[in-house]
């Protein structure tokens, strides 16, 4: 039976992915490849 809580394990390491994506964006912004991100 499926859990009533709609949560499940992802197929990748979430912490590592979050750090990798964050550092990639930080590098792209630092190198001015991405100039500005608006909100």
């Amino acid at each position: 039976m499926e859990s009533p809580t709609p949560t499940r394990k992802l197929a990748f390491n979430v912490d590592a992915a979050a750090i990798l994506i964050a550092l990639t964006f930080a590098a792209l912004i630092r190198l001015n490849i991405i100039h500005h991100i608006n909100w």
Partner: protein
């Protein structure tokens, strides 16, 4: 914080990695669609009010949660979307790592150290009270342990970390997770009311939310609902709290092993590292880079804005995964123990935060 309640399929039954990643797309798009709809509704409200029309004054954070809650509680979300909805955890952690650009590392150390002291006191008191409440209401001992771990440290992540360590059964784990998630949803709506009633400052309110609300996602939202700075402070306090996860789970694992009801932990240092939330390292790395002047002011603004974009689908995910019916379907005793424990934790942390800020120790 986040969660894994469905057993990992065995390698033999696992679909290829590419297929697993493709399966994430529909739910991920749904998260972004709800988040963007929340942001659009906030903008629509600003426009309509400026033109003298009535529209509720609700920020995008709350819109995203409300839309998610309505969708998941009034309708059945098709199974197609479920894998992608789970990516809310990725967006949440990405947002947390990126928001570190807004913190000077000295502040992280200062506020983090203060939070660590408060967390240590909160942990001791809440673990004790939850254990006593579990005994009074005659909950199964391991369910009591799971509720105590979940409510004192890091919500669902802590419960999931503890399940194999103390050899808890699936039903107790599901009940504890449902109770913690349902109580987290209640915090979203009650904490801002209390904060406004007490005229709390952004920093003190944020620290309180980070210390008292169980899941990282709910703590972040509860802070953000009060204001931008409160949201960041909630993340900082919650991150300090999450750092304790390994120690508390290890303590319970050793206890249950001594009772002959769980396997012994042989390599404790490795156990602590495995349970440590690694995204905290990313948070500290970005904060150190920002403090060393690695980024210009404009670049720091861009990183801060990017963190807001990352939080958008995460907030939608908080609404989507909250099942209000769990409040009644999990039995009244775990919920009552949870409610009483949470009220105690909220009051004790509120008292500590007010004492610290009243005496100026946190300025």
């Amino acid at each position: 914080m986040s969660a894994q309640t469905i057993p990992i399929p065995t390698a033999a039954r696992q679909p290829p990695r590419s297929q697993q990643l493709l399966a994430l797309i529909p739910g991920t798009l749904l998260l972004f669609a709800i988040g963007l709809a929340g942001k659009a509704l906030e903008s629509l409200g600003i426009y309509l009010r400026a033109h003298h029309h009535y529209f509720p004054r609700i920020e995008y954070v709350l819109w995203a949660i409300i839309l998610g809650l309505l969708l998941s509680n009034l309708f059945t979300v098709p199974a197609l979307f479920r894998p992608g909805i789970a990516t809310y955890e990725l967006w949440l952690k990405l947002g947390i790592v990126l928001v570190a650009a807004k913190f000077v590392f000295a502040d992280v150390l200062h506020i983090g150290a203060m939070s660590l002291v408060l967390v240590a006191i909160e942990l001791t008191l809440s673990l004790t009270v939850m254990t006593i409440l579990g005994k009074i209401f005659r909950l199964p001992p391991k369910l009591t342990s799971l509720l105590a771990i979940g409510s004192s440290i890091c919500g669902v992540t802590a419960i999931m970390a503890a399940q194999p360590a103390i050899d808890a059964d699936e039903q107790d784990t599901t009940t504890a997770i449902a109770a913690i998630l349902a109580l987290g949803a209640l915090a979203l709506f009650t904490f801002p009311l209390v904060g406004h009633f007490l005229h709390m400052g952004q920093q003190s309110y944020g620290i309180w939310a980070g210390l008292a609300v169980d899941n990282t996602a709910e703590a972040t939202v509860t802070g953000a609902l009060y204001g931008d700075l409160a949201g960041r402070m909630a993340i900082l306090a919650k991150t300090a709290r999450s750092a304790f996860i390994g120690f508390v789970v290890l303590g319970y694992a050793v206890y249950w092993a001594s009772q002959g009801q769980a396997a012994r932990v042989e390599r404790k240092a490795l156990f602590l590292w495995q349970k440590f939330p690694k995204f905290i390292l990313g948070f500290m790395a970005i904060s150190i880079l920002a403090s060393l002047g690695f980024f210009s002011v404009g670049q720091l603004t861009s990183l801060g804005n990017l963190s807001k974009w990352a939080f958008l689908p995460a907030f939608a995910g908080v609404g989507l995964r909250t099942q209000l019916r769990d409040l009644v379907t999990q039995g009244w005793r775990p919920i009552l123990v949870g409610v009483l424990g949470e009220i105690f934790i909220a009051l004790i942390t509120l008292g500590m935060v007010l004492a610290v800020y009243h005496h100026g120790a946190a300025q």
